[in-house]
């Protein structure tokens, strides 16, 4: 791989998405492994990470264990032209972190208004109820991008970490059949 200058763009597949710094050394591990090792977030604070995990798990079971918060956090920390987030496909303007911070704030504000607590503190049933309302833009006083958009983006992120990996294909019994397999089976 070659750092070719502009905006620090790095073309290779081994740097970028899931390079995690552990003990001062940069190693390639999956987002799920990063979560299991307790790797600190780069940009998210603990509450934001907890909320993304709760949202991800509500949207796609096993997203928490698959490391959705670490995946998003790591992707937000690389230059936007290297980011692999669905936000890119949704034509969001970088920095993508602004979307996630605003979405988490809107979700918590809505959750407190309806249930009196932050989203991550709700029961699984209430989390599901909230997400269903958010999906249909049925949360009063919602601010920022529509709830349906937040639903679509976070659901896509959760689908990525649970079903977009080689392990995800295996879990569904779908042959992956890569020409060039991704690093760390991504």
């Amino acid at each position: 791989m070659a750092n070719i200058g502009r905006r620090g763009f790095v073309k290779g597949a081994t740097l970028g998405a899931l390079a995690i710094t552990v003990g001062g050394a940069e190693i390639i591990i999956s987002a799920g492994e990063a979560r299991a090792r307790g790797v600190p977030f780069r940009l998210l604070d603990a509450h934001q990470g907890e909320t993304l995990e709760a949202l991800g798990e509500t949207l796609v079971p096993q997203a928490r264990e698959a490391g959705i918060a670490h995946f998003i956090d790591q992707q937000l920390s690389v230059p936007p032209q290297e980011a692999l987030l669905q936000a890119r496909i949704f034509n969001f303007r970088p920095p993508f972190a602004e979307f996630y911070r605003a979405a988490i704030a809107a979700v918590d504000a809505g959750s407190r208004k309806i249930f009196g607590r932050d989203f991550a503190q709700l029961s699984a049933a209430d989390q599901r109820d909230f997400v269903d309302r958010m999906r249909q833009n049925k949360i009063e006083g919602w601010t920022g991008r529509p709830g349906a958009t937040v639903y679509a983006v976070l659901r896509a992120d959760a689908v990525d970490v649970v079903y977009g990996t080689m392990e995800g294909y295996e879990a569904l019994g779908i042959p992956y059949m890569p020409h060039i397999p991704p690093e760390k089976r991504w």
Partner: protein
Amino acid sequence: MANEKVDIVIVGAGASGSVYASVLARAGKRVVLLESGPDWELSDLISSEIWGRRIKPAGAPILLEGKNPMTYAAQGGWGVGGAALHYFANFPRLLPTDFRIKSEHNRTHDWPISYQDVAPFYDKVAREIGVSGDAKAEERWRPAGEAYPMPPMKTFRNGDIWLKGFDAVGIPMVSAPVGMNSIEFNGRPACLYDGWCHVGCPIGALANPQITYLGEARKAGAEVRALSTVTRVLTNQAGTRVTGVEYYDARQQKQLQEASVVLLAAWSAQNPRLLLNSATDKHPKGLSNASGLVGHYMMSHHVASTWAMFDEDVQNHMGTIAVQYMSYQHYPKTSHDGAFGSSFITAGFALKTTDLANSRPDLFGPELADYMKRAARNLAGIKAFGEEQPNMENRVELTSEKDEFGMPLGKLIHTYDQDAVALWNANLEEGLKVARAAGAKEAWSARGSIPTSHLMGGTIMGTSVADSVVDSFGQSHEIPNLWVAGPSIFPTAGASNPTFTIFALSRRGAEHMASQWATLTN
């Protein structure tokens, strides 16, 4: 910093730019291609939906407005090869009726050329880069031409299972033409049918620019400068000729590239953005914009998707992202009562897990997990691409916001008219009939917002400055050494996937440019 003058500078190293580069470099011209994204190689094309996003747009965004914003990012390109690095390589052609909508239906405008002007170039492109299909079978709907150089691709149960349903509603389906290798072709291997086409085919079975025209161009001496973002086309003081372009290189240094000819091949939204941003006192509305039409008549295809669950395993992981079957049966513009426009009907394509999840966007939680297990075996889809008529109000314009190089961002405003909405609904209703007749256990339409696919228009071709920006070859009506290529010169959209036509029109334009070279450089 000024660079040595070249014969032609091409802005954009995608499908159209690569054709021009090949033809002109092989004609002995000194060619430089400036590409805003990275210089991807086949070895960069990782088989992953997640990693595949690296080759999707990442430069200055186009701001989206209107009732039906053009969601272009999934289809756009970033880097050498452009969108054709990850295109699906469906190669249907336009039909004669597409060139004569004004004459036949008194709507919008005719092309300044006929199908017969383009047909030889469809055949030439097919011979050069390889197309698999059954031309004879297509000729029930179109004039005869050459046979494709390769037999049709393999089909799979996810395509075959629909044939009974189409037959029941009176729609004959034939093998779809694709820019992929059903057999080894020109030293490139046959397809493996693993469905990773949309993130880039690294084995060379799919005809992307890197292994076809751009590869030829490089061999003939064309130079590709990646991470080079063009911000202006420059003119002489009199405004009668272009003299080159201004661009920012990989180190964000401003560069000047003089050239005898400038070709804009930067995609339908960027070509008008560049022309508008190149305004001078002699061209106050932008270059080649005396008509006021630069940026106007932006068009898209609306896609009517029908999904169905079948009782059997349809092997939906097998095949290509390109379709297995196609039909022009409803291509005549008035095929559906109460709607207007062509429809191009397709069936049979490989699915990835993202596709499975997106086929039921309303599901989440345990219901989604259950659905994914069933969809992995039993889900298949069909799609009808529908024509949108050109509308002046659908346009690209500059905004007051600037990109990192100080260039105004483009804003793309797009709303479907009633013809498009009616046609999309008609195609969805028909899709359900097909699914039921095919024996689907469950079937549903992909409703919600109307999809936009295949951005076209913005610098349309025509007969004069009164009705268009360029002529049928892509040459500016106003500045003879300024040319434009790609889908932005389409004056109407048809319903066929556009890249085969992009290649054919570019081949035609490039040959004409080469033959007229002396007149361009004097």
